[in-house]
Symmetry: C2
Subunit: 342 residues, 2 copies
DNA sequence: CGGCGGATTGGTAGCGCTACCATTTGATCA
DNA sequence: TGATCAAATGGTAGCGCTACCAATCCGCCG
């Protein structure tokens, strides 16, 4: 059982079973045991069997820190998201994680969106782990962070946006296109007086600008904008709707930067007895899972978050295994989902 | 700039800046540089300054894999959750992560809830990283997984439940208590015919059993139960409500195992013109963030997920830093939130 | 029969950091 | 003055694994 041979163990180390122990038990050299576990085709069937037996008997679990240090491959991928609660990004993180796990990679999760110093600290912490790849939600503007990432040489996937100058790889879609298409869609439905309810977010900015551009081109009045800051809650949607109604009573379409805000706008509209979409149209963004089944079902812009995760995972895995990625930018597109509120 | 001295670099290694490079630049020994960064009180101010300058100039980021290997402290904490999308657990993960980050720890995220083999593989992958702690949503039943975790000696926090036999530490609340309190609450409001709409989930089981117990004790008829399996969506809530109405038309209270299911039940009730709570009461579970602001606002059971995350983080950090945790089990309780649907 | 090549196994030397112990220095005290 | 001690610095030897380079064995060829 617990063999307590007279070889004195060092006070250092964790005391756990090591590859050395397994090799000794199997009667082979450590390096052979390593090969049995990592490149089984390179060892004879008998040795393979003996090593597997030894692993079973000892309950050996390889120390990936040591392996990573020796091979300069951590098999870790870091993902940075602004928030995890009620976030459209989680669908992406879920599929990213699933895909990575199947390929033998582990996910590290970092939350950005606090202060700038914390952002910096997060990046440092991430790089310190020497991940084989980094997934970013959003695109990284020029600055210390970008420089650092570039210098680290770690493969990076930016996402949820499109830019002509990605750091490395990119899986996203065009927010300007969305703004334009939504505008055209609503104008096509006969809407004329627009309001935007939105959070402070540069991607929402891009959609808003493109939206306003089209509205202007059609000679329709200015777009009334309510910015709720960083409070993307249902109740701030309600409050925003009150503002909209007070300032632009003749509004007939409200475009929101998130489904939750749209739900708030809808709630307020209903509580005032405004008919939707008779009196006003309401559009969300993101298509959170339960939206389709509500009554009324919110019209929204659907992003295939799972697809973004999968593509990003494949990019990152390819690069981690040393394969070149030819087409480094993928546009996964979007779709306008017309339901009951437009 | 890029000093290319005639010392031939080994082909191994990542080629990144190491502590050795920093030390050389600062004119001190590597170990002194290490101390300047990790235990700054142990070096003189001048050395500290020189080392910091060297770090600045080189953009050095310590390799945490190497540090972890040498010190047997990875500064990694693993969190295992069943799902990340629209999940009540994410509030917990968010606060856990925030708290850990401030203490210098990184979060690894693993998703369970797939197959049993994957569960096993996940645990193995997690242990392979030698995290300083593991956070589990739910409690781990006896079995291979539990044995393995116990054998690894890694501090573990189980959560979202209470058991007299935790692996190690526990931050949770009693599902049986919830079942009982909800039953008493509804009976106190004059409700007599109960239905349960629930997912397959042992914690929901425990609530259901305790709920039925109280109902029986009051001499009220059997509780009609609809099990939606693993599909915790709004639409399965609607379908479940149809079943309930067909089988137990005189139902006057429906208790759901998640807010989303309750939203579905509510949707169906409204679309059939049933008055809520006049004709039927509806209760959810979890209190997802936007519920309070909807019209009608769903009554539910609130769990303080953020508090669970914070407590778990503190437990894990304490243990990682070698402090003993006296009280290893914490009951964070719950509260019944009465809003418009009861 | 010597030699060649593939398959299998082993030894050595790190990966980049820190635990542990030793040394140096300068201040303090009997 | 020498002994004593704390503060500051350095040297060495790993942590547990894998890259790289032998060494060995066996079958097969000319």
């Amino acid at each position: 059982m617990n063999e307590n041979n007279n070889v004195k163990r060092s006070r250092r180390g964790s005391g756990a079973i090591t590859l050395r122990d397994v090799a000794k038990l199997a009667g082979v050299a450590p390096i052979t045991a390593s090969r049995a576990l990592n490149t089984p085709t390179q060892v004879s069937p008998e040795v393979l069997q003996k090593v597997h037996d030894a692993v079973q008997r000892t309950g050996y679990v390889p120390n990936r820190m040591a392996g990573g240090l020796a091979s300069s491959r951590s098999r870790l991928i870091a993902a940075v998201v602004p928030s995890t609660v009620m976030s459209v990004f989680m669908e992406t993180v879920e599929s990213l994680n699933a895909e990575l796990f199947d390929a033998g990679y582990q996910l590290m999760l970092g939350q950005s969106g606090y202060s700038v110093e914390r952002e910096e600290a997060l990046l440092e912490a991430v790089i310190g782990r020497r991940p084989d790849g980094i997934f970013l939600t959003g695109i990284l503007q020029a600055g210390r962070g970008r420089t650092r990432l570039l210098a680290s040489g770690i493969p990076v996937v930016e996402s949820w946006d499109l830019t002509p100058t990605p750091i490395d790889m990119l899986v996203g879609f065009s927010h300007a296109d969305i703004g334009r298409e939504v505008a055209n869609f609503l104008i096509g439905k006969g809407r004329r007086k627009f309001a935007l309810v939105r959070a402070s977010d540069e991607r929402a900015d891009r959609r808003a600008v493109a939206f306003a551009e089209i509205v202007t081109k059609h000679g329709l009045g200015a777009v009334f904008e309510v910015n709720v800051g960083s409070s993307r809650t249902l109740v701030s949607g309600r409050e925003a709707m009150q503002r909209v109604l007070a300032e632009l009573p003749e509004v007939d379409a409200i475009v929101c930067s998130s489904d939750l805000l749209a739900l708030g706008v809808l709630t307020e509209a209903k509580s005032r007895g405004l008919s939707v979409p008779g009196r006003v149209s309401i559009m969300g963004f993101g298509d959170v899972p339960f939206l389709a089944d509500m009554v009324p079902a919110l019209s929204t812009v659907r992003i295939n978050g799972a697809e973004i995760g999968r593509r990003a995972a494949r990019f990152l895995i390819d690069r981690a295994e040393g394969r070149e990625v030819e087409q480094r930018v993928v546009d996964v597109g979007f779709s306008i989902v017309e339901r009951d509120t437009t």
